[in-house]
């Protein structure tokens, strides 16, 4: 399949992820939407690394996976900490920085 297919699928998944990040109120699902966006960019990088016959795209995809793993771990720890102190994880209700 050509460049257009990779671009279209990747752009669609990215936009769906962005929509999910905006419309959902559960922080876990917002994190999942961020994962969707990161994954769509990975797909774009891998597709283009195949088209352009270069390994750089795959290496960047690997780096994105590393950053995503670190981000998810820290984000989930923060969500867990908020849940322990407030017993409520709706993002609309989290409006005070003090514990």
């Amino acid at each position: 399949m050509g460049h257009q297919f990779v671009l279209l699928i990747s752009a669609t998944i990215f936009c769906i992820g962005a929509a999910g990040f905006i419309i959902r109120k559960n922080p876990l699902i917002m994190f999942m939407s961020v994962e969707l966006m990161l994954n769509s960019v990975n797909f774009l990088l891998v597709g283009y690394s195949s088209f352009l016959k270069s390994m750089d795209g795959q290496i960047f995809a690997l780096m994105i996976m590393t950053v995503a793993a670190a981000e998810v771990v820290v984000g989930l720890a923060i969500i867990l900490t908020i849940f322990r102190t407030r017993h409520d994880i709706d993002v609309d209700h989290i409006n005070v920085l003090k514990g």
Binding site: L8, I16, I29, F31, E35, N39, G47, K53, I79
Partner: protein, 184 residues
């Protein structure tokens, strides 16, 4: 002359089917009410993307995607959902929601326009499938590139993971007792 390559045709069909399945699974992630179903849809989306990576000659990245994302990260998500209780979320339509959809659809249209603008000038590298096979597979080719030209980013990534690990230990340990309000 009418001529077709059955292998190419099958490959294209499979690629297209897997791509659309990935899109449908990602729609499931954002539209399902229960977080557990969202997580399951996300796993299926990641498996579809791993298949697409395989179809685009990136075997190593596909394996890493399955192990790191569909394995480790999603297990973490499922544990957190089990811990916090997967409460269903009521999804009502509101002005904010329609604004969000308008924004996202505009962004999608812009991206489509940008994608169909025509061919840009490609910068060709030297890794066609023959070269990769000669080196000894995708993992070896990535290793050669990673440890020669991209050594510093690789080491920085290990530092990042270390910082994340220490960070979550601090977060989990020191905030264990609920914060007490000061009396007086």
């Amino acid at each position: 002359m009418f001529e077709f390559d059955l292998f190419e045709l099958t490959r294209d069909t499979v690629t297209m089917a897997v791509g659309f399945t990935a899109v449908l699974a990602s729609l499931g992630v954002i539209l399902c009410s229960a977080p557990v179903y969202c997580a399951l849809y996300l796993i299926s989306n990641m498996i579809c993307l791993a298949l697409l990576f395989l179809l685009y000659n990136a075997e190593f990245i596909a394996a890493v995607q399955i192990i790191v994302y569909a394995g480790a990260v999603m297990i973490l998500f499922l544990f957190i959902i089990a811990l916090l209780g997967g409460k269903k979320e009521v999804q009502e339509s509101s002005a904010q929601r329609s604004m969000a959809f308008t924004f996202v659809i505009t962004m999608l249209g812009e991206l489509f326009l940008a994608a169909t603008v025509g061919p840009t000038k490609p910068i060709e590298g030297g890794f066609d499938p023959q070269t990769v096979a000669q080196v000894g597979g995708s993992a070896k080719a990535i290793g050669l590139e990673l440890f020669s030209r991209h050594l510093v980013p690789f080491e920085l990534a290990s530092g990042l993971l270390l910082v994340a690990a220490v960070g979550i230990i601090c977060l989990a340990k020191f905030s264990y007792a609920p914060v007490r309000r000061r009396t007086r």
